[in-house]
């Protein structure tokens, strides 16, 4: 199928990818989209759920244009969204380094990095928007790293051979989010955005088939409230916490996305999860989360293990001849900078072969000795000071003196709610932005591309596409007094009471941990059919037990963190099954989805004949099998080839 016709999947999926050459699509599309006149914008209300990079940027931009915006977050302040934790940087095709970068190269790298499972048109647009993002952030006063001449500095991330990553020490996400937060708070001050903090979205409300609002719990008073508007934007982040241990914040959840899924938004490629190669290893059963050590560290850190399995000597006493810098040896062109899926898989292979280090044997070294010698400790400190500090705090070891010990951990989720080119889900009027959607990263995301995507979606894409929805849809007046809203509020209150009423014997945390173990063991870095079937069985059992044996104390009319948490665990228990089902159905290996049955020399073996599609799942009801819809993917610009980083 060519891109010259509107793309329709095997079923009813309409991707709305415009016709014409990929480089001209977005401009043409923007021209074709209907506008709302400046004076009419104030007649529309848009509900933005989530205030991370995607949500804050969208809410601020829409308010600047004159729309009335409601911004909703589970946190006490928009600035706490998990985007704040992003460390390494943000990509942009500025070519400030004069090293051959271009929009086309960023596009190419991202499509290849995603192992040919993303939509070309979306990725191209992302690369196009990338340059404006940097301009916008600089103008907001984001203090990016600079060269002595005063120009912006760059570094390199995995899977690419140019230097296009902009950064602010190891706190890039923080600085970008604070920039977007500033813009958002400015609009709050101007009265264009109404901020609803400490509110958890529990449902979306559909009227005549169009999403018109949300139901949310006021986390302070426990009241179930609702908001009505003309469009809803979900910007609620990823679902990595389905695995319990991940680099995500404790509050990250799938609830908002899952509730929308249950109301008709298809869930795409849930099995595409990213396992980040460089995280601080698990120390014991008490572990509540894992901490990332940014990929940017691989610019200067060298990954190695002892050549002999079981070599227990202290790392600094192991001579060069007895070390295996396995990434440098195996992947000559990219060395330590191979993409994440490749680096993670190799770390696992080394540990499985008995060459892992540390007490658990589940770690490899990331060594800075050579870089410190070459550049001096001060330079290393300037680049990564806060990361080294964090590592030291957690492990009690000084990475300036001894190599870091690192191991892969769940980090990011490429899957998410299915969206068309306009970022609209299969539920009309519901748009999905940032990590919560599936659209740009295929089966593996390249480093420093999530921040770029969140801000592209919020600042530069959705302001145009939402206008088209508002201009072309029938949106009769609706208030929260309507039947549909009342019914949804009723349902949400019922569920809350149900959770409090079970009074079983196990805490929500214990269920979540058990789910996490199952997900990691059978649906983690490597997967196989038998294991996935087992996982599905286990998740079903655990879910059944949850609804008869969970113990949630306290009341619904107060701040009740345990109740909030139980609701999120309940949704993970439903979602986990879909993730495993998707992994079982995708009989190929690609990117982060590694099926043991499909490999060649330990590298992922794609099956383009049968799986060159987006798998979008439709909810059918509790405990009923979901229906699979396929959106075929075509590659007209970056030709389908075996993805290799060896040269």
């Amino acid at each position: 199928m060519s891109l010259n016709a509107e793309q329709t999947g095997s079923s009813d999926l309409v991707s709305r990818v415009p016709s014409g050459p990929v480089a001209e699509m977005w401009d043409k599309h923007k021209f074709d989209l209907k506008l709302i006149a400046p004076t009419n914008k104030r007649k529309f209300t848009i509900i933005v759920v989530g205030t991370g990079l995607a949500g804050a940027s969208a809410a601020a931009s829409l308010a600047e244009q004159g729309y009335n915006v409601h911004a909703v977050t589970i946190h006490d302040s928009p600035r706490r969204a998990h985007s704040i934790a992003a460390q390494g940087g943000i990509n942009a095709a500025k070519n400030y380094q004069n090293d051959g970068d271009s929009i086309h190269r960023l596009f190419y790298d991202t499509v290849k990095g995603g192992d040919f499972r993303s939509r070309e048109a979306n990725v191209y647009r992302l690369a196009q928007c990338s340059t404006s993002i940097i301009d916008q952030c600089v103008a907001q006063g984001v203090p990016f790293a600079r060269e002595y001449g005063g120009t912006l500095a760059n570094r390199t991330f995995g899977g690419v051979q140019v230097s296009r990553t902009f950064y602010a020490r190891g706190q890039t996400g923080q600085q970008l989010l604070l920039g977007a937060y500033g813009s958002l708070m400015r609009q709050v001050g101007l009265g264009k955005v109404t901020l609803h903090s400490r509110r958890e979205m529990l449902d979306v409300v559909t009227v005549d088939g169009v999403c018109r609002g949300i139901v949310m719990r006021n986390l302070v008073t426990g009241a179930i409230e609702s908001l009505a508007g003309h469009a809803v934007l979900l910007c609620t982040g990823g679902y990595g916490n389905a695995y319990y241990l991940s680099t995500n914040a404790k509050g990250c959840n799938v609830t908002a996305a899952w509730r929308a899924h249950r109301r008709g938004a298809y869930f795409a490629n849930p099995c595409f999860t990213q396992i980040h190669p460089t995280c601080i290893p698990v120390t014991g059963d008490h572990q509540s989360k894992l901490t990332l050590m940014s990929e940017s560290l691989r610019n200067d850190g060298r990954v190695w293990v002892p050549k002999t399995p079981g070599d227990k000597r202290a790392p600094n006493t192991i001579p060069e001849a007895d070390r295996d810098y396995y990434l440098e040896n195996k992947y000559k062109g990219f060395g330590n900078m191979v993409p994440r899926d490749v680096a993670s898989r190799n770390a696992k292979q080394q540990c499985d072969a008995g060459r892992g280090v540390g007490t658990s044997g589940k770690a490899v070294y990331l060594d800075f000795a050579e870089a410190i010698k070459r550049l001096g400790q001060k330079t290393i400190e300037e680049k990564y000071g806060n990361l080294f500090h964090m590592y030291h705090k957690i492990t009690d070891e000084d990475p300036y003196q001894v190599p870091m010990r690192i191991y892969p951990a769940i980090h990011y989720t490429m899957g998410g709610l299915w969206v068309d080119y306009n970022l609209q889900s299969t539920l009309k009027g519901l748009f999905v932005l940032g990590e919560a959607n599936f659209s740009d990263h295929g089966a593996n995301r390249l480093g420093a591309s999530a921040l770029m995507q969140g801000l592209a979606d919020g600042y530069f894409v959705v302001p145009y596409t939402v206008a088209d929805h508002l201009a072309t849809s029938k949106l009769p007046p609706v208030t929260t007094d309507s039947r549909e809203f009342k019914a949804a509020v009723e349902e949400a209150s019922f569920r809350t009471k149900q959770l409090l009423g079970i009074q079983g014997r196990r805490s929500a945390d214990s269920f979540h941990r058990e789910l996490g173990h199952t997900m990691w063991d059978y649906c983690g870095m490597s997967r196989n059919a038998a294991g996935l079937e087992k996982a599905i069985g286990k998740i079903r059992e655990l879910r059944a037990e949850f609804w008869t044996n969970v113990k949630v104390l306290g009341h619904d009319h107060e701040l009740n963190q345990n109740l909030e948490y139980a609701g999120r665990v309940a949704d993970f228990l439903e979602f986990g099954e879909l993730l495993a089902t998707d992994a079982l159905t995708r009989n190929e290996s690609c990117g982060g989805h590694f099926r043991e049955e499909f490999q060649e020399d330990g590298e992922a073996l794609r099956d383009d004949a049968n799986f060159c599609h987006v798998a979008a799942w439709q909810f059918q009801g509790d405990n009923k099998p979901s229906v699979l819809h396929k959106e075929p993917l075509t590659f007209d610009e970056v030709h389908l080839t075996k993805r290799s980083y060896r040269e």
């Binding site: 934790a85 103008a139 203090p143 790293a145 060269e147």
Partner: protein, 253 residues
């Protein structure tokens, strides 16, 4: 090497914003020194749930020192005994067997308690809303490299901008002053060319809102700097005072 600790915890329990609170004592056994402080509280909460007592409410999220959500007074110190460390980054290896640990919420008029150890810090958002930004709409930005920024200034601006908004500075100050928080934001923009257009109004508005929220005044005891997990220096306060003075002299509105 990990060891096991037996601990006595005295924790502030308060059902809601309008009810009276009190300390409650708990005994915990077998806490690994490898655990973080919050993982220790997780264990306590798990045990409380088993006993049928409502778990202790406390704010936290990233657990890696960046979101600014965690906020505990530990033995009278904001974020506990370690410098440049948030509560979530504090590890139990800092404590000894049979220690008694007193855990309280931030105490400040502008940060009312919501429940147990959770306080309301939205006053910070309201300060940001009056001036903590550059008024630039999306679509208007010139090329990122069109205005060079000397590296020293960019670095200094970042030193100010790394504030995590946790409120430890307020909690540590006997006057519950928010000048370090406001000073950091004012400084970030004062140091950058992008912040110049609104320089005068920014400091005036942010300081006025800070006073309105009920934060106390600064008496230069530098407790805020000592408690700050992000290492923000009191130089920010001096710079803000200078900015404020200049703005007053200029007399702009």
């Amino acid at each position: 090497m990990s060891a096991m600790l037996d601990l006595t915890l005295k924790i502030w329990r308060q059902d809601g914003p309008k009810t009276r609170g009190a300390f409650k004592t708990y005994h915990l056994k077998g806490i690994s020194t490898e655990m973080s402080f919050l993982e220790m509280l997780d264990i306590l909460n798990e045990q409380l749930i088993q006993l049928g007592e409502e778990p202790v409410a406390f704010d936290h999220d990233c657990r890696e020192g960046i979101c600014g959500m965690c906020s505990l007074m530990i033995n009278g110190q904001a974020h506990g005994p370690e410098t440049k460390t948030t509560t979530c980054q504090l590890h139990m290896r800092r404590f000894h067997n049979h220690d008694t640990i007193v855990i309280e919420p931030w105490r400040a008029r502008a940060f009312p308690v919501i429940r147990d150890l959770v306080v309301d810090r939205t006053a910070f958002d309201r300060i940001q809303a009056v001036g903590g930004f550059v008024s630039i709409n999306v679509g208007n930005a010139p090329d990122g490299n069109s205005v060079p920024v000397p590296k020293v200034n960019a670095d200094k601006a970042l030193d100010a901008a790394v504030c995590i908004g946790c409120g430890a500075c307020v909690a540590a100050c006997k006057n519950a002053s928010a000048t370090l928080f406001v000073g950091a934001k004012v400084s970030q923009f004062a140091l950058l060319p992008q912040g110049q257009a609104e320089r005068v109004q920014r400091v005036q508005k942010m300081v006025a809102q800070m006073d309105k929220e009920g934060f106390g005044s600064c008496t230069n005891t530098s407790e805020c700097e000592a408690a700050c997990p992000a290492g923000i220096s009191v130089e920010m306060i001096s710079r803000m005072n200078l900015e404020f003075l200049k703005a007053t002299v200029v007399g702009a509105t």
